[in-house]
């Protein structure tokens, strides 16, 4: 599905990612751990194709195509979706209208209901939404978009316990976790700090990012336990010694 080869990315002339390699197969969902400022969001934004994130070297392959130089909307139409960490508010654009614009065939009312978000249908997108509401708004839009590969930037931050469950279920739906593993085709990559969301959704593999590189990969639960026990660097030293 997605293959990242030796990817280096800079923002405003400052290099943030150094030779990242990552491969996510069809039907797989991966989690990405790492301290603040280590480049996790940069990786997602570079995959999404935000122009400020300049690819210095390496390439991004998606569904067998090199998308490294593709525009954001082309990538989205090819099947890449992203839940932003801090999305902007859009004045005058109602959420229910955005759902229709994203996908005229989407069943807006059902999607809104699933995320217990009906009262927000007539509100301007993200305008005056709380942290947790923003996350649900992102999930609603992704369920309308139905990407083949979904990226989630801290979908659990600022979300209360009841709603974390709803968001976890939405992620499972987006990544077809209700389907037998052999039948799954959709994939995902998510960033989480505390792993709360992993109690409600299934991740197949996890990676630790330090200083702009992926330095350790393995079972999500094992990695998270190690991080909790001995910190990011301790985890790497223990599980993936150089």
């Amino acid at each position: 599905m997605l293959e990242i080869v030796d990817l280096s990315v800079s923002i405003g002339g400052k290099q943030v990612l150094n030779g990242v390699n990552l491969r996510i197969g069809p039907g797989e969902t991966h989690a990405l751990f790492g301290p603040n400022g280590t480049g996790k969001t940069t990786l997602l934004n570079a995959i999404a194709g935000i122009p400020r994130y300049v690819v210095e070297s390496g390439r991004i392959m998606f569904k067998g195509q090199d998308i490294t130089r593709m525009s954001m909307d082309q990538r989205a139409r090819l099947g890449i979706g992203m839940a932003f960490q801090r999305p902007p508010a859009i004045r005058g654009l109602k959420l229910k209208d955005l759902i229709k614009i994203i996908n005229p065939k989407a069943d807006g009312p059902t999607i809104l209901k699933e995320l217990d978000f009906e009262p927000f249908a007539n509100r301007d997108v993200n305008r005056g939404f709380s942290g947790g509401e923003v996350k649900r708004s992102e999930m609603v839009q992704l369920l309308a978009q139905q990407p083949d590969f979904v990226m989630l930037d801290e979908p659990d931050s600022g979300v209360d316990l009841e709603n974390i469950k709803l968001i976890g279920e939405a992620i499972n739906q987006l990544t077809e976790k209700d389907t037998r593993p052999s039948k799954r085709t959709k994939s995902g990559l998510l960033i989480t700090h505390f792993g709360h969301i992993l109690e409600y959704m299934k991740a197949d593999r996890a990676h630790v990012m330090l200083n702009g590189s992926i330095v350790c990969s393995g079972n999500p639960k094992e990695i998270l336990d190690q991080i909790k026990k001995s910190g990011y660097e301790g985890c790497v030293a223990c599980l993936c010694p150089a």
């Binding site: 999404a48 935000i50 122009p51 525009s71 954001m72 909307d73 989205a76 139409r77 979706g81 992203m82 932003f84 999305p87 902007p88 859009i90 004045r91 005058g92 654009l93 955005l98 614009i101 994203i102 301007d124 839009q141 978009q145």
Partner: protein
């Protein structure tokens, strides 16, 4: 000393330049227009007029309290469909009601500038609308001022009186058909909102590239009265200048102005001016300007003279082209203690973050720009009937509004 007559004052001012806006050479326009035939029913209007009216949101059907249509200088129909509202052409109204002299030129000065002077020196044409005491209408009165002759100076003088406790909605579309190459429209309007009465007035302009427009509006609002004034101009115009003035004269009076401009050329100078002269009055003025070309000056002035008055101004502009200019001038004039007056003004481009956000959902850069621009122009207007809100939405959400 005797008070000079309207005529004498107008004569004095016939060369007086306006405070704002580019100067128009009145002599270069013709003041005489060929008269048009009157009709009994809006259905009988020429189809070109009906089509033009529809384009400015004026659907001349049964779903209205009445209609007024003026072609050039001829009022072709002035008809009420509802007992609570009286609609007449101005000349007939002046003949019928002596008391109208107490309203005529009382809120707009005939010698304000050469445009008002010109209207004052011309035979009266325009509408007289009176919402009768305590009568509330739901359907709007629909009017269309149609400038159909090239080179004409179309002069209009309207008076609206909302009597005590009444409620009135008026939608006015002003337009020229495509074949009119050049023209001038000067419209004087005087609105009297009496105690506890409520008016919503929505004006939609659609002019030609060589048309100049000078509306002159004065409004007074008595105790407990309210005004919702909406102005929309999304089509090219050569020059346009208007600065309607509302005076909140009675306790608790409320005025709200919404202005939506999409500029692609020319010189547009618009705004609103509110005097808060009574306790517990409040005023709000919101303007949204998108420029892909041309110059737009967005003014807003609020003057608070008594304690407890509240006013808020909001001028926001999106400048989408090198060729455009948006000059935002919010003014607050506090002249008393215990006032609450504020403003916010911003001029800028479309936020990259918003564009990227929508592009990440699969919208092209052009589609995303168009969605953001339309959202920006979709001003939430309070206090209008749902149907009218929808009509305004249809106008501001047209597909042909794009970024540069």
């Amino acid at each position: 000393m005797p008070v000079p007559s309207v005529e004498a004052r107008a004569k004095e001012a016939h060369k007086k330049k306006a405070l704002y806006g580019t100067d128009v050479d009145l002599e270069s326009y013709e003041s005489e227009a060929k008269p048009h035939e009157k009709v009994q029913d809006a259905e009988e209007l020429p189809s070109v007029v009906k089509k033009a009216a529809l384009d400015v949101g004026v659907k001349l059907d049964k779903e209205s309290s009445g209609a007024y249509v003026q072609m050039d200088q001829t009022p072709v129909i002035a008809k009420s469909l509802y007992d609570g509202v009286e609609i007449m052409d101005m000349a007939s109204a002046l003949k019928k009601y002596d008391y109208l002299q107490d309203y005529w030129w009382k809120l707009v000065a005939p010698d304000a500038d050469k445009y008002t002077a010109d209207v004052a020196q011309s035979p009266p044409a325009g509408y007289f609308i009176r919402a009768k005491k305590g009568m509330k209408t739901v359907f709007p009165v629909k009017s269309c001022l149609y400038l159909g002759s090239t080179n004409l100076n179309q002069r209009v003088h309207n008076v609206i009186i909302a009597e005590k406790g009444s409620e009135l909605h008026v939608i006015t579309g002003c337009t020229t058909p495509a074949h009119v190459q050049r023209g001038l429209h000067v419209g004087v309007s005087e609105f009297f909102i009496q105690k506890n009465a409520k008016i919503s007035f929505t004006m939609i302009h659609s002019w030609g590239k060589e048309v100049e427009v000078r509306p002159r509006t004065g409004i007074t609002i008595a105790e407990g009265g309210s005004l919702s004034n909406n102005y929309i101009c999304l089509r090219p115009v050569k020059t346009l200048q208007t600065f309607p003035t509302a005076t909140l004269a009675g306790r608790g009076a409320v005025a709200s102005f919404n202005t939506v401009i999409y500029s692609s050329m020319g010189n547009i100078d618009v705004g609103s001016n509110v005097n808060l002269n009574a306790p517990d009055t409040s005023a709000e003025s919101i303007s949204r300007v998108v420029s892909v070309g041309g110059e737009v000056i967005a003014r807003g002035r609020m003057t608070g003279t008594v304690p407890g008055a509240r006013a808020h101004l909001e001028c926001v502009g999106l400048l989408l082209s090198e060729k455009g200019r948006i000059y935002s001038i919010p003014e607050l004039d506090g002249r008393s203690k215990d006032l609450d007056m504020s403003h916010e003004a911003a001029v800028g481009r479309i936020s990259e973050e918003e564009l990227e956000y929508l592009m990440a959902r699969g919208l092209s850069s052009e589609e995303a720009t168009s969605v953001i621009v339309r959202g920006f122009l979709d001003v939430e207007i309070k206090g209008l009937p749902e149907e009218l809100k929808q009509e305004i939405r249809n106008i501001t959400q047209r597909e042909d509004l794009k970024g540069a």
